[in-house]
Symmetry: C2
Subunit: 451 residues, 2 copies
């Protein structure tokens, strides 16, 4: 059967685009964190919708599961093979239609990288509402499948809020397509919304109709320091209600900043250290500096650095964005992405370090995240590779405080065992009902999401 499958795949996409040699497939077999690794039966690289449909059809016929993969930048093992699945790479579907300036929308192939999309729409004086650090590799299809959030969610929402229409291949090879881009269109179930965040378990997304937002060229970034988490969160609340132009409010801590400066040889932003930092960005048609300056006056910030020109803005952003790189340099970290209710976030920051000490005294815990959404990325460096206990105590603490065990990364392989912390058995049964209905043979990304 396997050989016949390989032949069918080669017939579908051409021999060159069916990779079976371990040297060729290894980049597809392991995730970005290095924690999730398997071995694919084959990596298949279709170039268009028809080829995707043919690949799915061939795999279904052979009874072999398919793992759809975009930029493979996910952090929960959601796009790697575990047990001989076929990896269906969507990266060659990287076409972009001309921007529809009247509708403020664009249609993109699922394999288009976020950076390519951003460049494309920038030329039309528009922008895309979601931005994230992995922009050069992450694909819009993968971002939709995981309902990616990122740096601007407080202003524009997550991927689901950007997706106006979808084209996808169902588990039996059927194609559904609804890319007309009408924003008011109550003609049936919200298939696009259902596929967003379904982590490749219900269909393979091949194209997206995406809404665009105005491109704001007047930007100001400010780095603020605070005596504690509460003061920083209070500041975010003030900024949100007074600055319509607020686009990002990123939280990090002294230990993370120190690590970043140390690892990357950066100059520290302020003469002295503070417990908590907040990086905010405003963007507007007119210079947001006066309004931002007035708002900052009202805050209990200890120290402030403001940047208006591009290079200086990038310097301030670097303190936040380099966290991932700096932490990774300590070895593969355990990465957990969680949401806390606003009222519980401060307590969580205190308690998470304590509970980690009980199970992993050698681990170093770095926190950073998106303050306005209660979204923290918990990174534990120096934990053992099999760090189930670390995950367990953190996720249980989150759930006990009314939080979500996955803010924006999804469940993937990593968190399947903890889904019950957030979802009742009735909800999980309903997920399984939907999964069975759309993928009765269980061939679409069978290792993720459902327990």
């Amino acid at each position: 059967v396997p050989d016949r499958l390989i032949q069918a795949l080669e017939a579908a996409v051409g021999e060159r685009h069916v990779l079976t040699d371990a040297a060729m497939t290894s980049g597809y077999d392991v995730d970005w964190t290095g924690r999730f690794r398997g071995r694919s039966r084959a990596v298949v690289r279709p170039r268009d919708l028809e080829q995707v449909a043919a690949v799915v059809g061939a795999c279904r016929e052979a009874g072999v599961a398919v793992v759809p993969q975009g930029g493979n930048t996910g952090l929960v093992g959601g796009s790697v093979p575990l047990a001989g699945e076929v990896v269906l790479s969507l990266r060659r579907l990287d076409w972009l239609d001309p921007v529809d300036a009247l509708a403020c929308q664009v249609t993109a192939g699922a394999g288009t990288s976020l950076a390519a999309l951003q460049r494309h729409v920038d030329a039309s004086g528009l922008a895309f509402g979601v931005d994230l650090g992995a922009r050069d590799s992450a694909t819009v299809g993968g971002m939709a499948a995981t309902n990616a959030g990122g740096l601007r969610l407080l202003r524009y929402g997550a991927m689901r809020a950007q997706v106006v229409g979808v084209e996808a291949v169902l588990s039996d090879g059927t194609v559904i397509r609804h890319l007309g881009g009408l924003t008011k269109d109550n003609t049936g179930y919200d298939l696009a919304g259902l596929l967003c965040g379904s982590e490749g378990t219900l269909a393979v997304i091949t194209a997206l109709r995406l809404r665009l937002v105005p491109r704001y060229d007047e930007r100001v970034v400010a780095l603020l320091s605070f005596s504690g988490v509460r003061a920083a969160l209070d500041a975010v609340a003030v900024l949100r209600t007074t600055l319509a132009a607020l686009e990002a409010a990123e939280l990090f801590f002294e230990d993370g900043l120190a690590l970043v400066c140390d690892q990357l040889g950066l100059r520290r932003p302020f003469a002295r250290a503070y417990p908590v930092y907040l990086l905010v960005e405003c963007a507007d048609r007119v210079d947001p500096m006066p309004l931002l300056a007035a708002a900052v006056e009202q805050l209990a910030a200890e120290d402030v650095a403001v940047a208006a020109d591009g290079p200086r803005r990038a310097e301030l952003w670097r303190y936040r964005e380099a966290h991932t790189e700096a932490i990774n340099a300590l070895g593969p970290p355990v990465k957990l992405d969680v949401t806390l209710p606003g009222a519980a976030l401060e307590a969580f920051v205190g308690e998470v370090r304590e509970v980690l000490r009980t199970v992993c005294p050698e681990g170093r815990c770095y926190l950073f995240g998106h303050a306005a959404d209660g979204n923290l990325h918990v990174n534990v460096a120096g934990a053992p590779a099999e760090a189930t206990e670390v995950e367990d105590v953190v996720l249980n603490l989150v759930a006990s405080m009314g939080g979500s065990i996955s803010a924006e990364h999804g469940i993937g392989t990593a968190k399947r065992g903890w889904l019950h912390l957030n979802r009742s058995k009735e909800e999980i049964a309903l997920f399984a009902t939907i999964k069975r209905a759309l993928d009765p043979d269980g061939i679409l990304n069978p290792n993720v999401l459902l327990p």
Copy 2:
């Protein structure tokens, strides 16, 4: 069997809340337009979640279908019984939790009217993002089930964009509940989004966690007149890109305005008549008048009336909102709610009257709608009660121009026969697959949405 069902329903909700007498059920058996009318086996009025679950369970056991009904203000026959179904009225589930000011959210029972919700959140200095004319009767559960749009969609989106979490009863009586209100929460399929717009066919919504928006007390309304549709749409495009505070942009025409003034005895807004009118509203923390005035300067408006104080604003709104009342006074109209792509809207306005003349020369066609979304309400007064031909030519024209046959009202009973104009057979088959999975016995609102 029927008698045993009535007994079971009475046991579930109490005798007083099971209506079987035609005099008592008649208000539930006919829709607001008067076009869709049936006879229910019983109208059941549960007061809470447990009673709803018991009612659904009893009906399923008896093999009798259930029609969930909120305020019964829908316009597509989506909430009336056709063939002896049980009407499940949610209106008694009209509780409201205290506003969560930190999260800017509130949890509401499905039977809460929009007006009650608005009053409740107003006291907290917040507002609800969706507003519509039927606010005194429409319930939040019905609005979610139909993904209602309304007057402020251009600023805040439709109901689906407001629903952060949902509680619902599935067809087998199972309860699902996810009302924690975390805005970043990627833990499984988007059940809330799936139920929004599902028209009661997948589950009975019993409670909603709703996002709130800032309450803007500084409001300005302007009525603008134009020489034609193109000029009005160009004006909307300018206003959208220059006024972040723009909240509504409503389009109507001279014939509608004349009818409104005539029927309601209103004074005309301008000394002379113009072909097209645009009603715009801006709302902000600070007086939006200067920005609106500057923007209006750029427009090709023929005449302008501006109102800042409440009573004058209401007067201008009356010209738009009284369309429904004035048209209804001519007899039950055929009401069709459609979206056109921006580029096709002007042509549609011209052509729709022509195609109507071919099938219904005695009909009078009134158009009004939400200009920014391409959403037009086509009202045909004086058409015969069985107006299939009228619907057919209008919906076919819409589809031929790339539009949607249902912008915000949903498919209901009214448009089932035309769903294929917007949705491929593969999509409709997928809808049916989802429906069968969640409601294998077909007891939830079986007369709507699916052909």
